[in-house]
Structure formats: structure tokens, C-alpha cells
């Protein structure tokens, strides 16, 4: 039987006192790809932001209910964990690629810098591995010191995934990772996501039902603020 990584019970989300998510209930399997689909504006991104508490950076948001994550065989409410610890365990990749205005190497190594890791060899090795895992190493190995902003949209998105994966998060949230990319780049991302199955729990928000069918282990539908399996 597969382990449950995230348990959600009676989750309500309010933005400026207006309900966005109503009584959400569901479970996310460990090391599987779970896709969340639903019409625009239904609260898919909001749902992801609740999982890593990113909503806290938006004034006027309020959350009720239980969101538990399994860490070391114990279920802990995400609101009880220190927020920086939670976000290191639950990484996020945004809809629009957001490389930082620095070199490709520094971009990928950035989370290690945040964690205070200074060992140059270990940083170098991890960056290399992360870029390989993101199918980007061959394309950028000769220009690691070039600005990340010079990469194409698809490469930037894979760089963001490599950056999010470098600290080996237990859960990776992806908010429509292919929506700003062309077909070729989107396919590469889909292949990349498939290769990450088994390494960490992936929760993908997507508009494309075909993408969903191709890569997902389970699909959750968000409709009228409620979750359907």
C-alpha cells in the first residue's frame, strides 16, 4: 500500500473574507505525481500556496482546517512547522520561469547559499547533479557563468526545477509549469516530471488534460472551491 504524504481535512481559505476554498478534503500519495485540474480562478494556485504557506506573503488571506505533511513517519500540521523549514521541504515552481538575475550556476546553487552551505566542492557537485536531473546539463555545461536570463523560456523553467530540486525537497509543487512554453519545451518538462516520479512527491496544477493523463498517477479536480477525486 502506498504511503500518504499530505492529508487535507476541512480546509477553508478566505481572501479578504471571501471564501475561495471550501471544506477541502483529500490525500496526496507519496512519491507519485498528483495533478490538480479545474477551471481558471477556482483556486488551484491558492491551494498550492496553502501547502507551502506562501499565501502568508499576501495580505488579507486566512486559512482554517488541517493540512498535514508526513515527515519522518509523523504527520505534522504545516502551520506548526517553521515556515523556512516547511518551504525547504515543500518546493515550488511557478507558472512563469523566474530565474534570478545572476549566473546559471549561482541560480541553481542559491538554495544552498540560503542554507549556509559553503563547501565549494559539495555545491559544485550538487549543482551538476541537479542540472543533470533537470535534463539541462548538456545544454549549459559550457556556460555556467552566463546569465540565467539569457536562456530560453523552456531552459529557464528547467533551471527553476533544478533549483527547486537541489535541496531534495520531499514535495515539489508545480503551478502550470508548461503554460508559458512552446510545445517542444513543454514536452521536455513533461518528460522531466516523469523522471522525477519516485524521487519526490509532485503536485502539478495544469490546464491541459492531455498532459495530466500522460504523466499523472492521480488527478484531483477542483470545482467550486471543493476537491473531487
Amino acid at each position: 500500500m502506498k504511503k500518504i504524504k499530505i492529508r487535507i481535512e476541512g480546509l477553508n481559505f478566505f481572501y479578504k473574507k471571501k471564501p475561495v476554498l471550501k471544506g477541502l478534503k483529500g490525500e496526496v500519495e507519496e512519491k507519485a505525481i498528483t495533478t490538480i485540474i479545474g477551471p481558471s480562478g477556482v483556486g488551484k494556485t491558492t491551494f498550492l500556496m496553502v501547502l507551502n504557506r506562501l499565501y502568508e506573503s499576501i495580505p488579507g488571506c486566512m486559512v482554517e482546517g488541517k493540512v498535514e505533511i508526513e515527515l519522518n513517519d509523523r504527520y505534522i500540521d504545516v502551520h506548526r512547522l517553521p515556515v523556512t523549514t516547511l518551504r525547504k521541504k515543500v518546493g515550488m515552481v511557478f507558472q512563469v520561469p523566474n530565474p534570478l538575475p545572476m549566473s546559471i550556476f549561482k541560480n541553481v546553487a542559491f538554495p544552498m547559499r540560503l542554507s549556509g552551505i559553503k563547501d565549494k566542492k559539495s555545491i559544485k557537485d550538487k549543482v551538476k547533479q541537479s542540472l543533470k536531473d533537470a535534463f539541462l546539463w548538456d545544454e549549459v555545461k559550457d556556460r555556467l557563468n552566463d546569465s540565467a536570463l539569457e536562456l530560453s523560456g523552456g531552459q529557464q523553467q528547467r533551471l527553476c526545477i533544478a533549483r527547486a530540486m537541489i535541496m531534495q525537497p520531499e514535495v515539489l509543487l508545480l503551478d502550470e509549469p508548461t503554460s508559458s512554453l512552446d510545445m517542444e519545451a513543454a514536452l521536455k518538462i513533461a518528460e522531466l516530471l516523469k523522471s522525477l516520479r519516485g524521487k519526490c512527491t509532485l503536485i502539478v496544477v495544469s490546464h491541459y488534460t492531455s498532459l495530466t493523463r500522460r504523466i499523472s498517477d492521480s488527478v484531483l479536480t477542483l470545482k467550486d472551491g471543493c476537491l473531487e477525486i
Binding site: M167, S179, Y208
Partner: protein, 266 residues
């Protein structure tokens, strides 16, 4: 020759540069920190109050700021030490007050204008709020913040009303301490234009004008170039990619999209 240099415009140029440098040293930490506070930390309840006070400070005529500086020096002379008169220190503090709103507003606005996904990049990677500000938001916005600081430097260089009431005199030489009086180019121009004794003095006044004008043109050009650099970086993140995204979403007949759907269902 040596006498020519020291008696000429040199003390005024040196005074102006020292004045700018010291004023900016007071204004930058307070201005940037206040801008960050208003953009990132300020309670929504208090924000309108601070904004109102800031607008008020920005709208105060410089002569009133000078008068305030003068009042402070009189107060200090009376209550702290009889050796305190309007001086270099008072001028720099008054000028710092004058340019604070520029620095605060530029810093605040540059942070507020950032797209949400840029603001939260660091947070999503596990950065603390302070790390996010210091390692991502400030470096990302550095060109815009510096352009605001340069405009503030320009204001410090050209303002006459403030320094006129707080310590500048016509023939003081180079200031040798924070409590001494000094010369500055804007006041020198004002003084010569209202009271010149010879053609030679008038020519010196024109020379001072050209130097001050050159400093201002240089600063404004630098500020403009930095703003442009910031705008290009901003566009890379907020215009180019989303534009592609909107095109991709809004036009279902785009060939690539059909190909994409086809590949996905295969």
C-alpha cells in the same frame, strides 16, 4: 598659481562634494530602510498615515527645511553648547531631510512594483523574509534604487535655500570639521550673481554655473541609464514571457498548441 586655485572655485567645489557625500551618508540608510519597511513590513492600517507624512515631507519647500535647520542650530546653541552655530553638520542633516522622501519613495515603489512571482522566488526556496529582501529583492532592484539615490544627490548638489540658512558662507574655504562653515557652488553662484565687483568675478560665477550644470547633467544621465537598465530587466520578467503565455492561451488555433495537444495524447 597655487593661490589662484585655492582662492578660486576649488573650496566651493570641494564644499559641494563633501556636502553631497555627507548628506547622502545620512540619508541612504534611513531612506532605504524606510522604503523597505513601507513596502514589506508596514501594517496596512498604518501605511496611509506614513504615506501622508511622507507626502507632506516631500511637499515642504526647501526654504522651510532650511529654516528648520536654522531653528535646530539656534536651539542647540542655546541648550547644548555655545560653540554650535549654523554649520556643515546642520546643513547636511537638513539636506538629508530634504532628499529622504525621494529615496524612500523610489525604494518603496521599486519593491511594490515587482511581480508576485519574483517577490516570492526566495520565499518559495526557503529564504527568510530578511534573506529574501537582502539577497533577492534589493539586488534585483538595485538599479532603480540607485537611480533614486542619484536624483537625491542631484538635489543635494543644487539646493541653495537649505544651505543658505544653515551654514554656507561666501569665503569660508574648505570645511575643516563638521562644525565649521563652508562654501558651496549653488551659494557661490547666488552670491556672485547678486553682488559681483568685477568682470573677473562674474566670469568665475559663470564657471561655477557650468561646473554645477555639468554635475547635474552627469547625474541625471546616469540615473536615466540605470532606470533604463532596470526597465529592461523588469520587462524580461513581466512582459516578454507572459506575452508569450497569453498568446499561447488565447489563440487555440496556434499550430504549436495543436501539436502540443496531439503529442500529449499520443
Amino acid at each position: 598659481m597655487r593661490k589662484e586655485v585655492v582662492d578660486g572655485l576649488f573650496p566651493a567645489i570641494a564644499g559641494t562634494l563633501l556636502l553631497i557625500l555627507t548628506s547622502i551618508i545620512w540619508a541612504i540608510p534611513i531612506g532605504v530602510a524606510s522604503g523597505i519597511y513601507l513596502a514589506e513590513y508596514c501594517n496596512l492600517k498604518w501605511k496611509p498615515v506614513f504615506n501622508f507624512l511622507l507626502d507632506l515631507l516631500a511637499g515642504i519647500p526647501s526654504i522651510l527645511v532650511g529654516l528648520f535647520g536654522f531653528a535646530v542650530s539656534v536651539f542647540l546653541h542655546k541648550h547644548l553648547s555655545e560653540h554650535i552655530y549654523p554649520c556643515f553638520l546642520i546643513s547636511t542633516l537638513a539636506l538629508a531631510c530634504l532628499v529622504l522622501p525621494y529615496i524612500i519613495r523610489t525604494t518603496e515603489q521599486s519593491l511594490v512594483d515587482l511581480p508576485f512571482f519574483v517577490k516570492t522566488t526566495g520565499l518559495a526556496l526557503g529564504a527568510s523574509r530578511l534573506q529574501n529582501i537582502l539577497l533577492i529583492l534589493i539586488p534585483y532592484n538595485l538599479s532603480r534604487i540607485i537611480s533614486g539615490i542619484i536624483l537625491a544627490i542631484g538635489r543635494c548638489a543644487e539646493d541653495t535655500a537649505v544651505i543658505m540658512l544653515t551654514g554656507v558662507v561666501a569665503m569660508a574655504g574648505i570645511p575643516n570639521s563638521l562644525l565649521s562653515q563652508y562654501e558651496a557652488l549653488p551659494f557661490y553662484i547666488f552670491y556672485i550673481s547678486s553682488d559681483y565687483n568685477s568682470q573677473e568675478e562674474l566670469m568665475k560665477g559663470f564657471g561655477a554655473c557650468i561646473i554645477l550644470l555639468s554635475i547635474c547633467v552627469f547625474l541625471f544621465t546616469l540615473s536615466h541609464l540605470l532606470k533604463r537598465k532596470a526597465a529592461i530587466r523588469f520587462a524580461i520578467h513581466t512582459l516578454i514571457l507572459p506575452e508569450r503565455k497569453v498568446m499561447f492561451r488565447q489563440n487555440p488555433n496556434i499550430e504549436t498548441r495543436n501539436k502540443f495537444e496531439y503529442q500529449m495524447t499520443k
